[in-house]
Symmetry: C2
Subunit: 407 residues, 2 copies
């Protein structure tokens, strides 16, 4: 439903847009990983944050805390402060999906990579198998390596209609030592938003093989018109009974550095199994600023988010149109969600990796395909959550670099 709201607020959004987009000097004044990763002159289009200011509602709560020096042990609404995040998430899920979340089944954590490690350690043993959609967000693969779990890859396969996955190909690869299914929905890097039918196939597969489903839904607030997000845990009580949902305001509200995310357990029994291995204090307390920013974002930040989504949609279609016209060798599917474009550059017949080509020849820093999949060196991931001038510069540099190849 969220995308309809967005479309209906284009008028007010266009006013807002001027306010949140940062210029390149402003971007360089931030101590961001994205804009300081490469030598001067390289345009950063990699790390998944946005070249935008945060919502005014988020700024306000941070300003309030600063004025009061309110950095001591916190209460919020008379309760442990992290409960405010759980309550705001529950209210948001009720409103967006008519999903009744019990805040008592929400664990607030610093980040979702932490949550992924914790889930892997809680629900499997070294040597156990974990299904992961590939290409994948790189820390997922790293988590399996570090914890000694076996990666069972579920390929996202190119079709003319979009990326799909085929669970039947996994039937022979999973056994009683396969314990988890890491679902990323919307999927990073392909931008797929899975349909109810696809998710039901995942649920049936998980049921058949008795798998816990860790559903990373961090991009679920960045859905473009035409797609609808469905939280995995809402599919059925059976699905919920094996669902660990990960979410955060960090991507959609551009506050990844404030480190506040959450784990929702589909049942109390799942939560108890988790805490038998991972004591509640082991994952650490979440900071006041992250808590307040998250609550403000989810509770009062919708107008800002709607305006951002209108801008992202415009940029997505702009990039797609230019690339199709000017560099048809680059194959891609327009993402159904996220501000990330997964570009297959195989037809450019490059000598090295796609990302190193664009870094050297175009002075653009894309995320390297091979960090998402060892076989994907011909791929690069573009982050288009920026201003139109910066995007124009990226596209012009790409076109020039590719032209030099054709000569």
């Amino acid at each position: 439903m969220i995308h309809e709201t967005a479309v209906s607020t284009v008028a007010s959004a266009s006013r807002e847009i001027r306010d949140f987009i940062l210029s390149q000097p402003e971007l360089l004044a931030r101590q961001s990983y994205k804009w300081h990763l490469y030598p001067a002159g390289v345009i950063a289009a990699c790390v998944a944050d946005m070249d935008f200011r945060v919502a005014p509602e988020v700024q306000s709560v941070i300003q309030y805390g600063l004025e009061k020096s309110d950095y001591v042990y916190p209460l919020r609404d008379g309760r442990r402060a992290d409960r405010a995040v759980a309550a705001a998430f529950a209210a948001r899920m009720k409103h967006g999906f008519n999903w009744d979340v019990d805040p008592a089944q929400v664990l607030v954590v610093a980040d979702l990579v932490q949550a992924t490690y914790a889930s892997i350690l809680a629900f499997s043993e070294p040597g156990d198998g974990v299904v992961l959609q590939v290409p994948n967000y790189p820390p997922f693969r790293e988590a399996l390596e570090v914890t000694g779990r076996q990666l069972i890859p579920l390929e996202m396969e190119w079709t003319d209609e979009g990326y799909v996955f085929d669970l039947e190909k996994l039937e022979d690869r999973v056994d009683e030592r396969t314990k988890l299914f890491i679902l990323c929905n919307p999927q990073n890097p392909t931008g797929r938003v899975f349909t109810r039918a696809e998710l039901e196939r995942v649920a049936a597969f998980a049921e058949r093989h008795d798998l816990i489903v860790v559903s990373d839904e961090i991009h679920s607030d960045l859905i473009h018109p035409g797609a609808t997000h469905l939280p995995f845990a809402t599919l059925s009580p059976a699905a919920a009974s094996r669902a660990i949902t990960l979410n955060s305001a960090s991507k959609s509200f551009n506050i990844a550095g404030l480190r506040c995310g959450l784990v929702h357990f589909g049942t109390e029994a799942l939560m108890q199994r988790f805490h038998a291995r991972i004591p509640i204090r082991l994952t650490g307390s979440v900071n006041n600023v992250g808590i307040d920013a998250t609550v403000a974002a989810w509770t009062d930040g919708q107008a800002w988010l709607d305006a951002v989504r209108v801008h992202l949609l415009t940029m997505r279609d702009y990039v797609a149109g230019i690339l199709r016209d000017e560099i048809p060798e680059i194959r891609f599917h327009v993402p159904e969600a996220t501000y990330l474009l997964w570009m297959d550059c195989s037809d450019l017949n490059l000598d090295g990796s796609a990302s190193s080509f664009f870094l050297k020849q175009a002075r653009i820093g894309f995320s390297a395909g091979e960090t998402f999949h060892p076989d994907a060196m011909n791929f690069a991931r573009m982050n288009f959550a920026t201003s139109r001038p910066i995007l124009n510069e990226i596209l012009e540099r790409m076109i020039t670099a590719v032209r030099s190849l054709r000569r």
Copy 2:
């Protein structure tokens, strides 16, 4: 050496004091646990934070981040942001104690309770024994209960000269299943700062029984004149080889809610043993604001800290003098560090616990003795890190309540 600096800056400190002390209305405007735990009208003197503003240098970095909306994935000085905390800690330890800390052996975490759980899980098994000085910071005891470790209590014993501990009494209680020694230095709640001789006895005991020493030194910046802090890991290479040091700017700079602390491993081998059980990403990423505040505090906050310490010393001696004159039934040792007074109210011959007496009869919220030790219901812990007017009110209410007993 730090206390001499403090004494020498009394003049400039007295100017600063006006700036950092908050009035009761300002305190109530903060969403703090401390001031909202009790019904209106109760004076809070419990939770270990200070009724002060944060240092101007800390405010400045938070203000900078706010102006730039710098809440995206961070770099600091071209490195992963948490490395700035490790570097600031190393510089501070070198300056304060001529201790050469390798920043590579520093893990930045959200809080020291998390660090304690992680250390217990990394270096022991369920059923193993852990030595803990009692009375103790309540989460330590809880950590042993939650993780199923055996508490081996080392009593802090009253003598006329101060609280002491006798390791010989433990010789029969430890065995090959005893794995850890949780040292809290300066000790909470007694305020003891252990001497070199005492620490060397701990080190020899740990060596003899092959124990890992988890040394919580969070109050080490709040030492009063006459005492000298000695980091456990600096005693000897042998001590360092079994030392896990926990520290944070959170107590001394009043930023507990910003959730930034650290674990220092005395050797690389210790760090590897830790990470074999606790992957680095399991403890989570630390937020930008906490990182920047900690670095600013440790690097540029000394003048503020010196001024705060002068005020705390004045308040400590003021409280001690009034209590000795007016309520001699309350026995205590003046704390050598911290802003916490551990009051033995046994001679008041109360019916219930000391904290409930003062809550009901004086409308003061002290920390309950029994949360520090099951046998300590006659004790209460006072937090005197507040303004003189609030402290006067606390003392007057205490005197009135005790007078009513004498009638």
